[in-house]
């Protein structure tokens, strides 16, 4: 399908930006540049549509707070790279896929179903412990910090504040 509303120069810029970011943090973009750029184009389309770069291979609700786990890079990227050598969309791949030792294939969906997600939300009240500061965890990269509030931007993987969860 054609998406004439996103121009190619923007896709190229975005591609170079996240490629650099990925490589400096030890991640790899899919070496199939055409496939990768079409995913990036879709992320930009979603940014324009919803106001956040929702995962192109998942159905967005249009509400950021419901989709915060699937803003690219999603919460499921690292466990999927670990178990299946790629993220769900195939945008990020393992070193073995990069070198061609393994072949990229579609992987199962790890994100809980809409009903399961509702249950998780209800049960997700962290107990308050007797600590001088709460501990926050970045759900994308696992970075931990102890302070009143999470930082505006994760210093490690650069995602926004709302990607943090109360850890302890």
């Amino acid at each position: 399908m054609n998406h004439p509303e996103v121009d190619e120069a923007k896709v190229d810029d975005y591609y170079l930006k996240i490629k650099k970011q990925a490589e400096s943090a030890g991640y790899h973009l899919n070496p199939d540049v055409e496939f990768t750029k079409s995913l990036i184009k879709s992320i930009i389309i979603n940014e324009n549509r919803y106001g956040y770069g929702a995962c192109p291979c998942r159905l967005s609700s249009g509400m950021r707070e419901d989709d915060v786990d699937i803003i690219c890079p999603c919460d499921y990227r690292d466990p999927d790279l670990q178990n299946y050598d790629a993220c769900y969309c195939g945008l990020y791949v393992s070193g073995e896929i990069l070198t061609g030792e393994k072949k990229l294939k579609a992987i199962p969906e790890r994100r809980p179903s809409p009903e399961q997600r509702e249950k998780i939300m209800i049960n997700k009240k962290p107990e308050s412990k007797d600590l001088p500061f709460p501990v926050w965890r970045c759900r994308v990269c696992g970075y931990l910090c102890a302070r009143e509030e999470p930082p505006e931007t994760c210093p490690i993987c650069k995602v926004d504040k709302d990607r943090f969860e109360r850890f302890i």
Partner: protein, 92 residues
């Protein structure tokens, strides 16, 4: 229902629920086109309001995870994800 239709050999009623932005959905659609089978498809992310809710409920009946692509054959058999082998097998 706003389904798009692709002509080809009739191998049963094939309905592909997909997202317009998703790489695996695109590969699935292209595979079906390559196999020259008749099918209908719908981009769920482009729907709004009642229509969207209706189609979402339909997809959930076959795939409670509400993930894409979901290919439904004869209102009965479901293939979730771009599983080339399974799709080829189902359509011989």
């Amino acid at each position: 229902m706003p389904m798009d239709h692709v002509d080809g050999d009739n191998k049963g009623e094939l309905v592909l629920y997909a997202l317009s932005t998703c790489g695996w959905c695109k590969k699935t659609r292209l595979l079906l086109e390559d196999l020259k089978v008749e099918f209908s498809y719908i981009y769920v992310d482009l729907l709004e309001g009642e229509e969207r809710n209706e189609i979402i409920e339909q997809v959930k009946k076959y795939n409670s995870n509400l993930s894409f692509p979901t290919l439904v054959i004869d209102n009965d058999k479901t293939i979730v994800g771009f599983n080339e082998e399974k799709i080829r097998e189902a359509l011989v």
